[in-house]
Symmetry: D2
Subunit: 330 residues, 4 copies
């Protein structure tokens, strides 16, 4: 018998999760909840699910797990309530925009069967990179270079509500750095510029950043971010080890190349995160099935969500003070 | 309202088509038929469809289209009956193993809303190659080089019933050659060898082939085939034009590379046709939706199925006589 | 003490050899001979060498070796005379345009310290391919695919005197096929077309060809030739083995790539044979130093020159008769 | 008539320059000077040059130019004397290890026909990158990413005398950053670690570094350095512009790839700077011919040598203080 699942939030990412859920034979989408009843209704109908309130969902003992794909400011509250109701939880990132609030919830959620939607951990190339690194095939990791450029900037009102580039965009790279470094960063340094669009600066944000992280053993990670690459969704990682380097390159739309006198033109990069990380979103849902059935522990726990947020916070302070920021460890 | 579709044949490829059909909002899988009732039942249940006989399917006026995914020897008969019943038809390749039988049915099926499952025409890279070629971006096509090597040979009893390498494997490449050349081949020359496994030779077949096709205007196409590449599913095309070359390269599992002192090791090729052509199978079903709803004419008609079969037949005769074979044109 | 060398022929390829010779500390360019005294004089002066007649060169006992870089019709006579005079010989390809004449000289030159300038054997990538193949790293060689397209056709009067595409251009590929196959071709099939320039057809030649070779054990080699690639000097080889494939790809001018929204444009291919095979020409001269000093046996003997010529001859007959041609073996 | 040139310093790099000089028809190597007479004698003999003292060289009015390839501590003095003697000067980098001394000589050498041997500016790929960037093909440069990893660390006594990683290794990258940014860095931040070999730390140096530069307009450059890549000489640049990205990738020894079931292994990177930058060293000498003959102004003047040194100095201070360092502009 498949396990009943409820989807909270039927927006763009919620609909992706619904489609991937239907491909998991062990999971069944039973309920859809959304602040907008019409949105919930449309998705529910096409999936053979029912519209329900959050209260009803959490109160139904048959619901084994919930997917939290609502707006960021509700993530924390919903996670706490779902955990209290004994549900397995797939919570979209970030866990919250406010580090203090998230830290306050940390002990309550420490043991939750909760998994944060850091989708890049599930990308086939990045996941393989982590496995090869962990296996030590090329020796000890020394430095890490993460390039993470969006194809084009989001609408300016999105930027204004985003929490800033570090919490909205670099948050993925902070999690990836932690995922790959195998050791906690102890120091952060960040520079940011507004080079892409003055309106972003006008909204109090930056659109271009370089962040450096250092671990206690001296390993260094650099993160390169831009809101606009000009050549598609640029997502690459290089891990320099004592015995060589492991790289994960961009993904292209096709394998076509046109060879002319002045050089060969290759295919465009996959341009959009839904396309680039389609396989990752499918793998996330397979992991959720593993968590719901108890076959696996959550790959990215609530504490990982906090740790990424803490790095974003430290980067913002480093940029503001133009000085390295040390991270306090309890 | 979605259009009701019946699936004839619930084997491996049938199940792929069923899953892709469920992602088409305009199509609804209503019936599943299979020579083995248990097989039909299992698939029907997981898809919310009903088991039915072919007669019942063809007799139901609500069925708008059928997918013929049965064994090859039944393709022709089912296509004729489905066409007579007024259905849109998605027929797996080859249309038949016997050229004479297929030709005999040609006039009956000439106007059928029938589309042959030459999946490679729907591969994003090969489809893009055809579009760029047709747009004339690099001038006139002069020569074509198709490499099409399987990762590993099929079981020997499959080989024995396959109709031979030219009808079973090269048939895809003959269709691709016709798709891309934009002009009919008028002459065929083929060499075959048994280099991979003597058991294949023992079954009267070859496992390695090189075929050349020539069109009336002197354009030449070479096809390279092996039942075993030793390095994954090797599917590449190069189109040499007056102004340069268009190539479509292999597809890899990830973008990972391990850089060591003696060179970088890249990712494995996608190894299996279901994986390599997953996007093509999805696109086929989208095309079937277009055909069922009347938005598009079939991309590969029955006559295309015959033409590929005729080339396979000619290649076999060329190999047998060690001489070029001219194709008769009415 | 360096060994004195004489250069016969001070044209384009002769000047290349002179420059490479000056980089060999064991060889010293003593004499330059050319049908045009002014041409010889200019090269001799810039190299600190003297102008001399062929008779004088061959009569000087201090001359250890001669480089034959004269027009093709003189190669055979000069090689016979230089061998009779006891010189080590670096003879440009082809050994002659007439197979009968070349065969007649075969026994005289069988033991000559003569090395034919099949420069591609010395290309770092192709030489490495041969070594890896010979080492059996990927198992037994089954099929070979040679792509060898010139960037643009030569002047029409060159074409008219060239001996035809098979002897002028494919001759390199026939030698490469023999070098890599490790087994003699026993059968040849060739198709040719005139697709690039009707003037080439008017001169009685073709500009586009596909040739297939088969060895006694069933291995097949295909050769693709065009007088005009439209995208630079296209020189590639793929060797399909029982355990995988070894490929040698094209060489580009730089490693630059421009990444834009619609794809990345890579660098142009090296466009000219002098540029593409610069390292090979240097390696040829190092091999000549080895032959002159007795450290090595010639890598490509006179018999290899004849064998390539015989394949060119057979290809021409195959094209003329549109039938495979078997090669007689004594 | 060729111009007479004197080579000061007949060590490894001096011999490279001598060989490249012989390929320049307008230059003639007349004198070789070296602290070790035997070393000078051996090189002079093989080049048809004479051994001479520095005094004799500078006193000979026929000497048009000198190449300073001596030990670093003598560069400045020799440059000043050669300039006073009216010679064109090709001076190896760095101009000095001491910024104060170099600055003191700046006004004397401001107008010198002196060119600093920043070889990477002459690399075909990096030079092309600069041209494309300057042409504005992809819009305005926003960020720059330079990766510059040596294959393996030098001997420890070399490290001890090197002036430290920033002056010995990053100096090239500082010059490249200035060459490409088109705007002066105004701020530097650097982190260094000793991860490769504790003996390097014992010698007071680091072996791994990440440096960030910022220009007045907010453009950011990151530099990644390691004394040991483990996979050859890793020299890459990525220039992110408003309209896309321009990259220059590594150079491999061959184009060979071995394709196996688990992925394709590509060729090794060129492993040594003399091999990797062979074309750059040839182009440097062609530039020197242009400078000697007055056809071109020096591409990298003494002031460029000072500017790179100042950045190295600032990076060392940043690392020592763990704080960004602003560069004073007069």
């Amino acid at each position: 018998m498949p396990h009943d699942i409820a989807l909270l939030g039927a927006g763009r990412i919620g609909r992706i999760h619904a489609a991937n859920l239907m491909a998991q034979p062990e999971l069944c989408l039973r309920y859809v909840a959304d602040a907008s009843p019409g949105v919930a209704e449309a998705l529910a109908r096409s999936c053979g699910a029912q519209v329900a309130t959050v209260d009803a969902v959490l109160g139904d003992p048959d619901v084994a797990g919930v997917i939290i794909a609502t707006s960021t400011d509700t993530h924390l509250d919903l996670a706490l309530r779902a955990h209290a109701a004994g549900k397995a939880i797939f919570c979209e990132k970030p866990v919250d925009l406010d580090l203090g609030r998230a830290v306050a919830a940390a002990s309550d959620l420490a043991e939750a069967r909760l998994f944060v939607g850091f989708n890049r951990r599930f990308d086939p190339s990045f996941a393989a990179l982590e496995r090869r690194l962990r296996a030590g095939e090329l020796g000890k990791l020394e430095t890490l270079q993460i390039v993470s450029n969006d194809p084009a900037p989001p609408p300016i009102d999105y930027v204004a509500r985003s929490g800033g580039l570090f919490k909205d965009m670099t948050i993925h790279d902070f999690d990836m750095a932690r995922f790959l470094l195998g050791d906690e960063p102890v120091e952060v340094f960040a520079w940011g510029s507004c080079l892409v669009d003055p309106a972003i600066g006008g909204a109090g944000d930056i659109d271009t950043a370089r962040v450096m992280l250092k671990t206690a053993n001296g390993a260094i990670c650099t993160i390169a971010n831009s809101r606009r690459s000009g050549f598609g969704y640029d997502q690459r990682i290089e891990a320099f080890c004592s015995g060589g380097m492991i790289s994960a390159d961009n993904v292209t739309e096709t394998t076509l190349r046109l060879w002319r006198q002045d050089g060969a033109t290759g295919p465009a990069l996959q341009n959009f995160f839904l396309e680039r990380y389609a396989a990752a979103f499918r793998a996330e849902m397979a992991h959720f099935a593993d968590v719901v059935t108890g076959r696996a522990q959550p790959m990215a726990r609530f504490a990982d969500g906090i740790a990424a947020l803490a790095l974003a916070d430290a980067a913002a302070r480093s940029m503001a003070t133009n000085a390295p920021v040390r991270l306090d460890r309890a």
